[in-house]
């Protein structure tokens, strides 16, 4: 897969998981399993990018005598997710077009019938 596309996909996957509510690293990594499995070390740079671009915010809360870092979806994060859906629809159209051209070409190529 095109790396830009893949990056977009992993980011949107994480954003989508945050729609249900704020979450933390371990839970997010577990939750990706239902959508697009990512190991914790794959998830880390994704979270970091999302923070840097402002799509998610973080805060720390005390949990069981220690600090746990939570991630929360921002307005920019919502927008990124919706933009992705639009882009994907456009991609679908381009894809259909390419397949169509390919099929036409295939027809030309294998069109000549041959009797065994």
């Amino acid at each position: 897969m095109d790396i830009q596309l893949k990056r977009g996909l992993t980011e949107v996957c994480v954003l989508a998981l945050l729609v249900r509510g704020d979450s933390y690293g371990y839970r997010l990594a577990k939750d990706t399993e239902q959508l697009m499995p990512m190991s914790e070390s794959t998830l880390y740079p994704v979270l970091k990018r999302l923070q840097e671009s402002g799509a998610v915010d973080t805060y720390s809360t005390e949990y069981a005598g220690r600090l746990r870092r939570y991630y929360t979806l921002t307005d920019a994060g919502w927008r990124q997710m919706l933009d992705f859906v639009t882009e994907w629809e456009q991609l679908g159209k381009v894809y259909e077009f390419i397949v169509h051209i390919k099929q036409e070409e295939e027809k030309k190529r294998t069109g000549g019938h041959h009797e065994t």
Binding site: I3, Y24, S41, Y44, P45, R68
Partner: protein, 336 residues
């Protein structure tokens, strides 16, 4: 390994690997580790055993950082471990004496073309992976076992070409063919191979049109088998279950054997010395060349009509027809 030891090792590995500031990463992995211990009720060592190794983590983080920094698209593609898409394999036909394809849930299309080389186009993603080898004249493409199941409808429906493997070969191929898949259609057209040919799938249709081989075996289940314009040098055997078999314009000099259950068998324009048609709960019908007296016949059905004698000897060709709870309707037609 204890937690301190693991984190220390991770820190050292990251520091050595030109990753940049490691503090934040360490606190992230420390938190993951603590959550694993608390939420899964594991002890420290067990939790660490299920974590990725410090080397693995460092490799991935550095990889992700370097791809992020890469500006040219080519550099990005080179850094990407799996680039999904359609892979194209080319081979010289004269270097292949046997072609083996083992797939699943993937449609196989075999096509004869005017070129004199072999080309295979298959999808490859992180989930759909193949092992390809060409050794001692054996070309094999084997689908790897799945690591996990993953089902996002969006991708399934929008990418039909990611669900088929296209195999192009010269019209005349001096090789054996062994193509198997499951839960998906197998479709072959305009190919004559000089060796044995095996075509198999399950829960889907097999459609062979204008195909030849030395001997041919076709195996299906729960999906119809359609054979049209098939020429073999020796024998053709097709077995199916819970679905029909239709055979038309077949030349199988030594023997043609068609077996199914709970499905109809239809034959037309068949040339063979030994025809065996077996079903159960399925009608058997068709037209055979020549006169009825040309055949030595054994036929049997139950609870239904039979157009053939149960036993007739003296014919030069053999004809065996068996079913149950269904009609046998075989007629004979002399060619002009």
């Amino acid at each position: 390994m204890k937690r301190e030891e693991y984190l220390e090792k991770l820190q050292l590995t990251l520091e050595e690997s030109d990753f940049g500031p490691v503090e934040e990463a360490i606190s992230y992995f420390n938190e993951i580790l603590e959550d694993r211990i608390q939420e899964e009720g594991m002890d420290e060592e067990a939790a660490i055993a299920t974590m990725e190794s410090p080397e693995e983590i460092a490799r991935k983080l550095v990889h992700s950082k370097s791809t992020q920094q890469a500006t040219s698209a080519e550099k990005m593609a080179a850094d990407e471990p799996f680039v999904s898409g359609i892979r194209i394999i080319n081979a010289r036909a004269d270097q292949v004496r046997r072609m083996v394809i083992r797939d699943r849930n993937m449609r196989l299309n075999l096509r004869g073309w005017q070129r004199d080389d072999i080309e295979i186009r298959h999808p490859e993603t992180e989930k759909i992976r193949y092992d390809f080898t060409l050794e001692d004249g054996v070309l094999s493409l084997i689908r790897q076992a799945p690591e996990f199941t993953f089902n996002l409808l969006l991708f399934k429906s929008s990418q039909p070409n990611m669900r088929e493997v296209n195999i192009f070969v010269p019209y005349e191929l001096a090789a054996e063919l062994d193509l198997r898949t499951s839960n998906a259609k197998l479709d072959a057209k305009n190919v004559a191979c000089w060796g044995t040919a095996t075509y198999a799938t399950s829960n889907a249709t097999i459609d062979l049109d204008n195909v030849g081989a030395k001997t041919m075996q076709v195996k299906g289940s729960n999906g119809s088998i359609k054979l049209e314009k098939i020429q073999v040098k020796h024998t053709l055997t097709a077995t199916n279950s819970n679905a029909r078999i239709k055979a038309e314009k077949i030349l199988a000099p030594e023997a043609l054997t068609l077996k199914t259950s709970n499905g109809k068998i239809t034959v037309e324009q068949i040339t063979t010395d030994a025809l065996e048609l077996t079903s159960s709960n399925g009608k058997i019908e068709g037209v055979l060349p020549g006169r009825q007296s040309d055949y030595t016949i054994r036929s049997q059905t139950s609870n239904s009509k039979n157009s053939l004698p149960r036993q007739q000897d003296g014919g030069s060709k053999s004809l065996s027809v068996r079913t149950s709870n269904s009609r046998i309707d075989i007629r004979f037609e002399e060619k002009l």
